[in-house]
């Protein structure tokens, strides 16, 4: 399947990918409203730009072949879509037990700031290329089959 791959060597740490993710998953689809208003209501970027000294990289869910999060999920809220390979999250079903957050060794799962629910990357099902990849100004993120 196609995944988002990262290249820390060319990442410039601008966090445009985080903002693109925020906008894509907002109600308004507007960066300013998403950042200034929807964030207060709990909107979060699914990805995280990590920093260590001079190195930076944008990290998100790997949509693993055999996901640890799915093994751990007690409610069936996380499933692997057989066709697309996406690890799909159904918020309604989640009970906020944080088992998946604990089990994912890639730290790809975040707690929703308000609700007892998780937040995770969905690979932007409505787009052909995920928003973070499109937004990256230096091709530090690619969407490809390896």
């Amino acid at each position: 399947m196609k995944r988002v791959y990262v290249n820390p060597e060319v990442c410039i740490g601008c966090k445009l990918c985080e903002l693109a993710c925020l906008t894509e998953h907002s109600q308004s689809k507007d960066l300013i409203i998403a950042y200034r208003e929807e964030r207060m209501q709990g909107l979060l970027p699914r990805n995280t730009v990590e920093e260590s000294g001079w190195i930076t990289a944008s990290l998100n869910c790997r949509h693993c072949a055999e996901p640890y999060c799915i093994q751990a999920c007690i409610s069936g809220a996380l499933t692997k879509d057989a066709e697309s390979g996406r690890v799909v999250y159904e918020e309604e079903q989640c009970v906020g037990c944080w088992s998946c957050l604990m089990a994912c060794p890639f730290g790809a799962i975040k707690r929703h700031p308000i609700k007892e629910k998780i937040v995770k990357c969905d690979l932007c099902p409505e787009r052909s290329i995920p928003a973070c990849v499109s937004a990256c100004p230096n091709q530090a993120l690619t969407f490809e089959e390896k």
Binding site: R3, Y5, V6, P8, E50, E51, S52, I55, T56, A57, L59, R62, H63, C64, A65, E66, P67, Y68, I70, Q71, A72, I74, S75, G76, E92, Q93, V95, G96, C97, W98, S99, L101, M102, A103, C104, P105, F106, G107, A108, I109, K110, R111, K146
Partner: protein, 427 residues
């Protein structure tokens, strides 16, 4: 080829999904003693608390069995294995043939010999049926004593408390949650529960369940001499693997059914997975029963793949638990109470006011365990360090771990590239 799975818990689901990745056609028969299609066993506390209803307890969608071409026989108990003939015997005498068998029978609540424990008003809390029974009687309960202060006991206590019941917890150990967590974490949880109004009695246990002349529960007499009034008792002392079938058939058992790296038992074509199995534990490097959900799924999955011909090793599970009590999240991963004098190094951080606690256990440049209370957001990153045995060679990196700032960018370059950017074919 015919696969037969005894049990319909999460390890059974893992097995079905593991088989179907490799073999979409052969017959799969699942036999379960319970009356429901698979549900999230840990969800029964959410159910009893009223947080979720009958629509949300199911672990898989309604069409899961039909989509996966699984024949499900509910409310049928397997009473014997005929290994030589490759058959199992059901209650009532009917027999089923198999080519590959998976024993995924989980565990049963342990009931110690307490006087008065037989009869009405004494409950267990491990199945949806138990939760439904408690739910139906909840309105008549004012005071309940929960015997056992482990995960299941506390979860039962919490749900009953949420329903307006006065709850007392009785625990033999000096503190609650003694198995999976350490002293400090157990104490923070106990403090929170006491503030909310739970009664906790540690260092003692139930001596006798007292009953009225009509046979109804009146209360619990403790070893310490105290008497706790109660309308009902929940026994949650522990769960023991359902070994009878395996034992009687002559399979090798210890605490659980012994399995090799392929999760095969001492008999060829017979596998075991989940709470009933004694499988390889990645951290201690030996076989152990670790009755937790993620291990049950992954053992089910790997055994399913092997039954379908994959020849894969089960690389071993890591004990891990995530439990929340009224907004206080607690997570433990790996080795959290290491033995003394064997070169383990422990770092702790406590902020009692904020109810934040963090304990990391290191051994020879590796992180081998952690306990997180309150602030659990970094749990997955710590799990990554433990699971992939990421070497911690620089002091700076260790300091970041200790300060709740683990980052992937400090993994050795090759490990980062391999895990993040290669096939992402993880395990």
């Amino acid at each position: 080829m015919k696969y037969l799975i005894i049990g319909n818990g999460v390890s059974s689901i893992g097995a079905i999904e593991g088989i179907r990745k490799l073999d979409q056609e052969s017959e799969i028969l699942v036999i379960s003693e319970e009356e429901f299609p698979t549900y999230g066993r840990p969800l029964i506390s959410y159910y009893l608390a009223g947080k979720i209803g009958d629509d949300r307890v199911w672990l898989r969608k309604k069409d899961f069995y039909s989509k996966n071409k699984v024949t499900l026989k509910l409310q049928q108990k397997v009473t014997a294995l005929k290994l030589a003939e490759k058959r199992v015997v059901l209650q009532g005498g009917e027999e089923e043939r198999y080519d590959k068998l998976l024993i995924a029978t989980g565990g049963t609540p342990f009931c110690p010999p307490i006087e008065g424990s037989q009869g009405e008003d004494v409950y267990f809390f491990t199945t949806l049926a138990h939760a439904k029974k408690l739910d139906a009687n909840c309105a008549n309960l004012k005071k309940v004593v929960v015997i056992g202060g482990g995960l299941i006991g506390l979860k039962a206590a919490e749900s009953l408390f949420d329903r307006g019941v006065e709850v007392s917890i009785v625990e033999l150990a000096p503190r609650v949650l003694s198995a999976a967590f350490d002293d400090t974490a157990g104490n923070i949880v106990a403090k929170r529960l006491k503030e909310l109004g739970f009664n906790i009695y540690c260092n003692t246990t139930a001596k006798e369940i007292k009953r009225t002349e009509e046979g109804r529960v009146k209360g619990v007499l403790l070893q310490s001499g105290e008497f706790l009034e109660a309308d009902a008792v929940v026994i949650a002392i522990g769960v023991v693997p359902n070994l009878t079938l395996a034992k009687e058939a002559g399979l090798k058992v210890n605490r659980g059914i012994l399995v090799d790296k392929k999760l095969q038992t001492s008999e060829v074509d017979v596998y075991a997975a989940g709470d009933v199995a004694e499988a390889y534990d990645f951290l201690v490097g030996e076989n152990r029963v670790v009755p937790i959900w993620p291990n049950a799924y992954s053992q089910g999955f790997i055994s399913g793949q092997n039954m379908a011909g994959a020849n894969r090793d089960y690389t071993g599970g890591i004990p891990m638990n995530s439990i929340g009590f009224y907004g206080l999240s607690t997570i433990s991963i790996g080795l959290v109470n290491p033995p003394e004098g064997q070169g383990f190094e422990i770092s702790t951080y406590v902020d009692e006011e904020e109810e934040i606690y963090r304990k990391l256990v290191f051994k020879d440049n590796f992180l081998v365990g952690c306990v997180l209370v309150g602030d659990v957001d970094m749990a997955g990153r710590y799990a990554g360090y433990i699971r992939f045995k990421v070497p911690i060679t620089e002091d700076k990196v260790k300091a970041h771990l200790i300060n709740n700032q683990p980052t992937y960018l400090e993994w050795p370059e090759e490990m980062f590239q391999a895990q993040w950017n290669s096939a992402a074919r993880i395990r």
